[in-house]
Amino acid sequence: MKRGSLFLNGSALFGFVFLYAPIISLIIYSFNESKLVTVWGGWSIKWYAALFQNEQIINATLLSFKIAAISATLAVVLGTMAGFVLSRMGRFRGKTILSGWVTAPLIMPDVITGLSLLLLFVALESMFGWPAGRGTGTIIIAHTTFCLAYVAVVVQSRLASLDETLEEAAMDLGAKPSSLFFLITLPLIAPAIVSGWLLSFTLSLDDLVIASFVSGPGNSTLPMVIFSKVRLGVSPEVNALATLMILVVAIAVIAAIFIMHRQNRYKISQ
């Protein structure tokens, strides 16, 4: 028993060190006085101050958040529709192919998704004149495309586990399909939609490869800015930015855990 728990504790410790050592070192170095990223020169918060002076980073951050929010929202709408069709339309011609297609972007390498979207946008522009040039709009379209797949999968699995008699009961009580969806189905799949949105938001915020393919001049997302900066040597400001983002993510995760915990308590009491 004791040896077992020693082994377990050891494994846990190793796992956590493996996961978090890079992050912790990043946080520590964000408070580094020295201009050289790899040399410790004492504590300072000057890079945080510098960060807020750096318009390029601020703008890229805002752009990334805007793209993430819009494409997550679009992906949730389209993905919910796709998930709904896949789990509720019964068997129809082409269902297997459709469900395969919807989930394909999950396993498609980003490079291929990015390249194919770029080719599509270029071809569309030469044929219809739209989209005129590449920029925020094309990034949003590209991100919506691959996030949609994640939302569809999450929503579909939630719908599959949902008791269909609930929807029948609503119909039986006089709910037309539209009010059935908004009054019964949507509230019941809301957790899946929220997690689909958060997942999409994160994926979009995180994406470097696809955005690099489909963005145009002057539309660099945050990962693109960071990546280009790193190529010229890591700037300590990036450490400060990363630390702030980790802080935001940590708060979001803790809030999510807290809400889920409360919901679980709710369920256990039933």
Binding site: L166, D172, Q270
Partner: protein, 386 residues
Amino acid sequence: MPTSPQIDPSKLNSPASWRDPEAKPFVQIEQISKKFGAFTAVDSVSLDIYKNELFCLLGGSGSGKSTLLRMLAGFDKPTSGRILIDGVDMSNIEPWKRPVNMMFQSYALFPHLSVEANVAFGLRREGVRSQEVKQRVAEMLDMVQLGHLAKRKPFMLSGGQRQRVALARALIKRPKLLLLDEPLGALDKKLREETQFELINLQDELGITFIVVTHDQEEAMTLATRIGVMNQGQIAQIAEPHQVYECPNSRFVAEFIGNVNMFEGTVMSEDSDSVTVHSPDMDNLIKIDKEHATGCAPTQSVCVAIRPEKMRISRDPMDGNTNTTSGIVTDYAYMGSQSIYKVRLHSGKEVRVTLPNAIRDMGDRLTWDDSVYLSWDSESGVVLTS
């Protein structure tokens, strides 16, 4: 209990409209079939149900009873045939427009809505004014004695309370027809018995036609005005509960409802008031009153069904040379209100006999390995030709 204002007292308790050949059926199911791929769930069923009936569809799993109910509610479209409710063809009427409400086996209460909101759901969809919704919901909840739980969510309720919420929700729109899918299936035995009687009273009071699907024959017997026994997608027999039990029309119905002893044999003779059957299992001939032996003729192979409680058992030889036989007690179970004996006849066939324990004294009770004689009346057996 407050009564619903829509009830017309003259319509209540109209005596057995299904026996009146002039009566117009309220629900007409005409030659309805439902196929799922190659599987036929419901096989050209025709059925008339009258106003204020409490009709039970009784059958085992896969007999098609639930599919029939779902077609009445509109969730499944019939492959062929049609359903008329109050004279209106339901073929192209969507579930949310039918004058029908259903109580689901799983209750299907909306988990994110309170008891009150669950019950109000149907009225809100009709666009009833919120003042009236509030009042009718309160009345309905009082009727099912759940007024004090109006604000609770379904998961905070016990099984019996959920059942009442489901019932209240299905009744609030005052449907012409209420469909109940295994309404008492999820309740424990004691609660089930109480609720059975409550359902009957409620049905009587509201004057709504009920169609109940159940696999529980006792439940069907207690609740129903008439029972439709279903087997493999077809209706095996439609009759009042006592007729289904006393005069089953087929081996399937006789064996499905209650226990029965079945003897295969050949019709020997027929006279003006009885039929005589020879069964190789019996010591003597079986004589059955003509009214329970329709549709058979001499030399025909038939089955004779005799219910265990209609057989007498004794150590002493019986008088007469028909409707008697003898054997040895192979098993005996004391059940409190009655005792069950299994008797092996000389042919090797086992017969079941139940005996009410009318006398408390256990002294001279029949027991294992006793040689016994069995007898029954000529009105007790039923001849089955299918």
